[in-house]
């Protein structure tokens, strides 16, 4: 299946923007060239036989990577998400905050098609992924997910964990996959752990390996589901540091988090979820500095009282 990657058009103006971005692009160079090659071919075919698709594509310069439109999800009688709208522009970080059970994790699971939504639509790069005719595996290949409980495969070494998807799903050769894994591990300071099994690593190391695993296939979007919630306090920093670096690299991310200080620092957009509704959305300054809603204020007061902000 060919995967259209329309937001590439947004990239040239970023490419030479700063030293940071160019450094970030270095790590993904081979990928960028290969995908841009693929995009051009798919574009060419679509001009010939899919004019309606082209019409939708003209506006894609500003098309967000992820867009949720009136998404509704319920488990039995309890409605977990109701009419959630969300836009995640390219190269930005969106933080989902809110109490436990407010729907943050469910939203991420829906975006990755691990849960089927009841109503509404989710778009990835302008393409509706909640269309039942879409192959969910092809969508998931473009999205990286990091879970709260790491979910590394315990019967595989760190390197096997990382190279599994590139080799078995993306058809990357063993050598290339291994090289990419080593490169990423090195960047995250885990070069000596490639041959270890996950149970020999600390929680922070496991979570960093999980991040590498999610990055190995060069995803378009990274979903981080409370990735520091299971960590001892002294290990939280090393994992958040990785996320900070990824932001510098221009990775588009959505993170559900309880680390308010971190959300404030790293996010471009903060969404406060309450009872399955996006109650308030804005820049970190707006949400943390001058929340408009009483519920947001109450939530933040509780967080401050708990010493988490």
């Amino acid at each position: 299946m060919t995967e259209p990657e329309p937001v590439r058009t947004a990239e040239p103006d970023r490419a030479g923007a700063s030293d940071r971005t160019s450094a970030s692009h270095r790590t993904g160079t081979s990928d960028r060239t290969s995908t841009s090659g693929r995009t051009s071919t798919s574009d060419r075919t679509s001009t010939s036989d899919r004019t309606d698709g082209e019409a939708g594509r003209t506006s894609e310069t500003s098309e967000p990577v992820l867009r949720l439109e009136a998404v509704r999800k319920s488990f039995g009688r309890s409605v977990v998400l109701r009419d959630v709208d969300l836009e995640v522009p390219s190269h930005t970080v969106t933080a989902l905050i809110g109490a436990s059970g407010s729907g943050k994790s469910t939203l991420l699971r829906c975006a990755n098609l691990l849960e089927e939504i009841d109503d509404g639509a989710i778009f990835l790069d302008g393409e509706e992924i909640t269309d039942p005719r879409v192959d969910p595996d092809a969508v998931r290949r473009r999205i990286g997910v990091v879970f709260q409980a790491y979910n590394l495969f315990p019967h595989m070494t760190v390197e096997q964990n990382i190279t599994l998807a590139p080799r078995r799903v993306h058809g990357v050769s063993r050598e290339a996959a291994r090289e990419r894994a080593r490169e990423l591990l090195e960047r995250l300071g885990l070069a000596d752990k490639a041959g270890e099994y996950p149970d020999r690593l600390s929680g922070g190391q496991q979570q960093r390996v999980a991040i590498v695993r999610a990055l190995a296939a060069r995803p378009r979007l990274l979903l981080l589901d409370e990735i520091t919630a299971a960590l001892d306090p002294e290990l939280v920093g090393e994992v958040l540091g990785v996320v900070r670096d990824l932001k510098e690299d221009g990775m588009t991310m959505v993170l559900a988090t309880h680390e308010m200080g971190f959300a404030r620092e790293v996010a471009d957009q903060v969404c406060f979820l309450d009872g399955g509704v996006v109650l308030e959305r804005g820049t970190p300054q707006e949400i943390f500095g001058a929340p408009r809603q009483e519920r947001t204020r109450r939530f933040l007061r509780r967080i401050v009282a708990a010493g988490r902000l």
Binding site: N112, L114, D137, A138, R140, R141, I143, G144, V145, F147, A149, N151, L152, F153, P154, H155, L164, A165, R168, V169, H170, Y197, D199, R213, A214, A217
Partner: protein, 303 residues
């Protein structure tokens, strides 16, 4: 007790560094404690020895003083017949061993297939799933001996062209039918014991359902069920003796032939003891694997 003793004995000999000033000297309290442990261990050994001896003596007298003992001894424990039976029983045993190896391999393969068929989701697989479920339900409920009789005598009665009437092959098939149903349930339990989050992680990487099963779920499932699988193989090992009812000359049938001529049951005892001797290594191996798995789990690994 013994483990504790070993630790106690090892530790006084661990200097914190040869000749270093802070060399560890066991306190009087520790020495007293160890002395207490030693005396208690000695007492425990003595009690175990005495009680074993008493039990053995009581059993010996109960059996040898029973009114029918001289007759029983001649019929079941005759050295003469044991000598006569041993080579023939061993000859027959070779068939049991071959049956075990071949049926064991078939049982593992078929059991795994059935288990996977039962876990398949999706409407396309409904017939397969239903069939696998019906199969395991039926053959787990059917007594092995009835299954054997039906297959061994029923299949040749059909007089189908090209279908064997060899009792060994048919007996082996019957064993495979029954045991694969058991083994399928063991595998299924293993598959279901793999946490759903593992599946979610694999799917989120873009792996298809099939690849998730192959690379993530099955490797973990199989590792977990090795001890119960070995247990089923031990059971299969002795049940290969049942093919004798079909007339295949295995260890049991070899014993039966001698018994039929002489009315002496010693050959059965010989065959039974040989089966026990054969299963003991396997049982020990199972225990060892289980212990190792438990140990790894206790260390925080998920196997």
């Amino acid at each position: 007790m013994s483990a504790r003793e070993a630790v106690a004995r090892e530790e006084p000999g661990d200097p914190e560094g040869p000749g270093e000033p802070g060399r560890y000297v066991p306190s009087a309290r520790r020495i007293a404690r160890e002395r207490f442990h030693r005396t208690r261990a000695r007492r425990a050994t003595a009690i175990a020895a005495v009680s074993s001896l008493v039990t053995a003596v009581v059993l010996y007298f109960v059996i040898t003083r029973s009114p029918g003992w001289p007759r029983t001894r001649d019929t079941f424990f005759s050295a003469h017949y044991a000598r006569e039976a041993l080579p023939k029983v061993l000859d027959g045993l070779w068939l049991n061993v071959r049956l075990l190896v071949i049926c064991g391999a078939c049982v593992l393969a078929l059991g795994l297939l059935l288990a996977v068929a039962r876990t398949l989701r999706g409407p396309v697989f409904f017939p397969l799933r239903a069939l696998a479920t019906a199969y395991t339900d039926f053959f787990r409920g059917l007594p092995l001996i009835i299954c054997l009789l039906l297959v061994v005598f029923g299949v040749p009665a059909l007089r189908l062209q090209g279908v064997t009437s060899n009792p060994v092959l048919l007996g082996g098939a019957a064993l495979t039918l029954t045991y694969s149903a058991y083994v399928a349930e063991v595998f299924r339990a293993g598959i279901e014991s793999v946490h759903p989050s593992q599946r979610a992680a694999a799917r989120s990487l873009g792996l298809s359902a099939g690849r998730t099963l192959r690379y993530v779920v099955l490797p973990q499932a199989v590792r977990r069920v090795v001890p119960p699988l070995l247990n089923d193989l031990v059971s299969l090992q002795k049940d290969t003796g049942l093919v004798s009812i079909a007339g295949a000359v295995d260890a049991v049938y070899a014993a039966q032939i001698i018994t039929g001529k002489s009315f002496n049951y010693t050959p059965y005892v010989v065959a039974g003891l040989i089966f026990v001797a054969l299963t003991i290594p396997m049982t020990r191996f199972t225990d060892w694997i289980t212990a190792r798995t438990d140990r790894r789990r206790a260390q925080g690994g998920i196997v």
